[in-house]
Symmetry: C2
Subunit: 406 residues, 2 copies
């Protein structure tokens, strides 16, 4: 097996836990057709019969966005993803292959991008609900394309091959047995997750030299999770490949203070950089950005819930992706290089019995609801996080960017 074969096997077997006869949806840039053929062939060999291929192309999408008139978005089949609901109904698995090609969209109005995004997200409510509860298998993984690799390695003629190699490295594909390597990594992650859950934390207070000084509170039922998602039938999933993070959903109305981003954010294909957000009673009440302030506004005002946090995630500054010192311009990777937060919907699986709750019930216990969920990085080498337990004891969680107890 070459590295592409090994990567495909990792995604299908370890991330999605594909079963015989299970339908599969593969979303991929057209440019990666060769890798999709490898995936399809392996999936069929595993006994999959029915695969739906959802091909995308940034150039075609940007042309469409530049030319669409406002009233044509709603009914457009271009951005509509209702076919996901068809496959969610029959318990299909979903593999989303992503490449960050934001530069292609530089001439497109950010409102139009947001609108297209909104249609894509809201046109598949059944999928979205099942995805949040891990009732369908899903995984987001990166692929290397001409444009996305040039962004990461602008001066390398063989940028595409080089980015593929970084993907293989970060996903442990270069190990003798990537499947075993991920079992070991998950085991280690589990130790930190168990430690955090045993602490019974009610509050986290973040500070660093950027100026970050804010706190969030956790509900009684909050659960820390990390790369050990399970479907109701017990099938283990890895929904983000790779993943280093340990995360939970904070109480929606609890965030207070100011937080500075430590890395750039790509939203709807556009760069937001050097920004801060100020929270009161959980809600963003002020913000600024040196680059892309209008796009940041679009994100925050996307809907009611997009101005509240849905996720707090802990990632050691001394992690493989962080140590690579590569800025991937892709949240999937960059979020594994630093502690982060997310504006938008929280995770039902991060709250006790949350997967059996309705949206209204989740909101009631403090898990934020939104059609948005966007991560942004806040971790630095001097980040300190002090926790307070429900017994009002203080405990240091992070010191100098890493877990205090490791």
């Amino acid at each position: 097996m070459n590295n592409f074969d090994k990567y495909a096997e990792l995604l299908l077997k370890k991330c999605l836990g594909m079963k015989k006869g299970q339908p599969l949806v593969i979303t991929s840039p057209i440019e990666c057709i060769d890798f999709v053929r490898i995936l399809a062939k392996q999936a069929y060999e595993m006994g999959v019969h029915d695969i739906y291929f959802d091909f995308t192309d940034s150039y075609l999408k940007s042309y469409q966005l530049l030319n669409f008139e406002d009233n044509e978005f709603e009914n457009s089949l271009f951005f509509n993803k209702k076919i996901y609901d068809e496959y969610a109904k029959k318990d299909g698995a979903f593999l989303m292959l992503s490449a960050e090609e934001s530069d292609v969209y530089k001439d497109v109005d950010s409102d139009k991008l947001a609108k297209a995004n909104y249609i894509s997200r809201t046109s598949r409510p059944i999928y979205k609900e099942k995805q949040g509860k891990y009732e369908v298998a899903w995984c987001i993984a990166m692929v290397s394309t001409e444009i996305s690799s040039k962004k990461v390695f602008p001066n390398d003629e063989k940028s595409k091959e080089r980015l593929w190699n970084e993907i293989f490295k970060a996903c442990l594909v270069l190990e003798d047995n990537p499947l075993d390597a991920w079992d070991k990594k998950k085991e280690n992650n589990k130790k930190n997750v168990n430690k955090l859950n045993s602490l019974n934390l009610k509050k986290l207070h973040y500070t660093n030299s950027l100026g970050t000084d804010f706190s969030v509170e956790l509900g009684k039922g909050a659960i820390w999770c990390g790369a050990d998602e399970e479907m109701p039938d017990g099938t283990p999933l890895i929904v983000n490949m790779p993943t280093e993070e340990i995360f939970t959903s904070p109480l929606r109305d609890s965030t207070e203070g100011i937080v500075y981003a430590s890395k750039p954010l790509i939203y709807n294909g556009t760069l937001i950089d050097k920004f801060w957000l100020k929270f009161e009673n959980g809600k963003v009440v002020d913000y600024d950005s040196e680059v892309g302030k209008d796009v940041l506004k679009t994100l925050i005002e996307f809907d009611e819930g997009s101005s509240y946090l849905g996720e707090v995630a802990l990632v050691e500054y001394d992690s493989p992706i962080s140590n690579s010192n590569i800025l991937f311009y892709n949240t999937l990777y960059d979020e594994n290089a630093a502690c982060h937060l997310a504006l938008g919907i929280g995770f039902p699986s991060c709250y006790e019995n949350g997967v059996n709750m309705s949206k209204e019930e989740l909101l009631e216990v403090g898990v934020n609801q939104s059609n948005e969920h966007t991560d942004f990085m806040i971790g630095t080498s001097d980040l300190r996080i002090v926790g307070t337990t429900f017994d009002n004891e203080e405990v240091i969680i992070f010191e100098n960017g890493n877990f205090a107890w490791n």
Copy 2:
């Protein structure tokens, strides 16, 4: 403009007559993404807003066919083309870019291919009806892919570029002004069409040295057509690019005698070669083939109408594609190298007032009905066709493979 730009302009402006604001469906092999981007960009510049991209890949399709179980075909979204009906309803234009990649399907059961084909065809009844009446603009054109070009030029390392060049040549893209060149060609074609229509033919009798000896009759309302299709609003179309043929639909029950194919036929991706068909009262009553007899059987038995003729087409043996001496393994091109017939549905536009008739009415006047329409070549350098007019006069139509009067 390079040749790709010129080809794109020809297809959009001259073949489809694209109008500002008109929706567009482009079907293309994934491999031709670069050409699709050119098409899309030009279409948007012409004022098109809404394009639906229907990408195909022979490898993925063959994997799917090899692995689908029988009961999974019906509901499969893979072969379903109902989205065409959505676009037909809003008067979209349809550009089908085709490449003959039959070799990829060599391990696939011909019944499965036929089934997938059947679903594709019958899942878009509105499109099919409007297509037949030119109520939607449509065009089939060839593109060059790795596999299809290797089939045509097996020993040429640059087969893909070479086939593109043959496409440009056959479509007059290498002329200074391809759009004007097609106007001239259509004018010339029109003269032969007018001559044939003025003859008031009721019968054609074909003979050649292969052994062909058969006749077909034409109804009183039969109309000869040739590359001058028009939409109800007067927009001229070229539905097959390129096209040399002049064609009509014969009386369904009138075919008598034996006809020998003069070139191979690719059906559902499989080769049928050196075959003959024997007709009685319009219907195929016997047949044989040296290669692909089972596939020929599938075609003839596809439905009731697929054992009757829906088209007779006249092409001079001395035509550009014929003179190129290249076998393209693609009916779109090869049909322009020789006189041919088609099993399956006839053309409403080839019968007086036919576009306003229902299927039942068309069948009543003798225009065959079917979900099938497959051309096969019968023209040779010694083909002779003798016509009989409704005034019972004999007139020689073809002599030595060409129009007798040119």
